[in-house]
Assembly symmetry: C2
DNA sequence: CCCGTTCTGGACGATACCGTCAAGAACCGA
DNA sequence: TCGGTTCTTGACGGTATCGTCCAGAACGGG
């Protein structure tokens, strides 16, 4: 018994996300979002409270989605764990290389722009990186059990390194450059992982 | 025969850089810079033309400085090349870990915020990454000649990977986290470099 | 059919912001 | 000392921005 919403909240979130994603937080005005979505001010502030609150929500949703996708791709039996790891890392590199408009990753962009002054954003970013690192660790450990990565290696260390490489690929991607360079970096990283019982890794 | 400037251009550039660095481009207003520097509008626009032009100049100066520092640290004889490489990479990791206010690196921040919409910024970032990669390549090659890195490895590939790791460390640093984690990543990366004539690297 | 509740549209106030401009100040060579 | 040139100060116009508020619309239970 009340007037129902005339807009789809998720659609608004998507549109707002795209605006923030493309222009950044500070450069996106509330009016931008209003015209893009067709909402009136009353509806907007009533439903989302605030530009900052909206961004935090969008950012959080984005990060949650990221983690979910990654989990779906990486989880699985020990058999094929290394293949899954490789495929996922290569996919991220390819994706980044294909992003010719240089939009990049909202997680990276939002963290770069806001982490210094918004502890909430920092916390979300931190949580996300931790989650990804954990999934990578599990995948590396699985690959070790399957005999595809040297059992002497510390899976947490390798995972942390791989996460850094992934974030680095994303960062380099924003400067353009040749499309082949990013996958090449991913390949190099994968090829350096201690596959057999070679030298002592990650001393 | 004209009235001389009453301000130090370089000092203004430094102050403006710090503002941009801390708040980002969009969130820094010209008035911010004016009050921080004490300049009047006329002087500001007369000397620097524009908020955007000023940022490009600040960004360019910053990148040039970055390259110079790195060159000073990495250049040298083949003897000790690997030690220089290691020292520099660890230094960057330590520095990033010590940056508790999460200000990060202006190159990363500026690129993340502006590369999508400002080709000039993209070009500067690109040029800077290329220069760093080139210096890393030279250093890796030197270490190979000194017998500290396997001669079978492709120095350009290793250098590209190291650059990605460095940028990744910087990106992860902005999310806070334990101070030990970043140096650990750097160490892991260094330890995985093919030191002797181990497995075929970077196939 | 009607009323309470929630939603909508947009006017509104108060700043903040960008970049221009003109009037006057400071300098220095002659 | 004087004139020409450059610099400085800050007022100004026009716009953008954020968030509030309220009058009225839409709905559905009773």
């Amino acid at each position: 018994m009340a007037r129902p919403r005339s807009f789809d909240e998720n659609q608004v979130l998507r549109i707002a996300r795209d605006r923030f994603w493309s222009a950044g937080y500070a450069a996106t005005s509330v009016e931008d979002i209003l015209t893009a979505t067709g909402l009136g001010k009353g509806s907007f502030y009533g439903a989302f409270g605030d530009k900052r609150k909206l961004f935090q929500r969008v950012f959080d949703d984005y990060c949650t989605g990221l983690i979910e996708v990654l989990r779906r791709e990486l989880d699985g039996p020990d058999e094929g764990a290394f293949a899954r790891l490789r495929a996922q890392i290569m996919a991220i590199a390819d994706e980044t290389a294909a992003d010719t408009c240089l939009r990049g990753c909202l997680l990276a962009k939002g963290t770069a722009e806001l982490s210094e002054h918004d502890p909430q954003i920092t916390a979300i970013a931190r949580r996300t990186f931790d989650a990804i690192e954990e999934m990578l660790t599990a995948c590396v450990a699985a690959a070790q059990r399957a005999g595809e990565i040297s059992p002497d290696a510390d899976p947490a260390r390798l995972a942390a390194l791989l996460l850094a490489v992934l974030r680095g690929i994303e960062a380099l991607g924003k400067a353009g450059g040749s499309p082949a360079s990013l996958p090449r970096i991913a390949e190099t990283a994968l090829s350096l992982l201690p596959t057999h019982k070679t030298m002592a890794p990650a001393n």
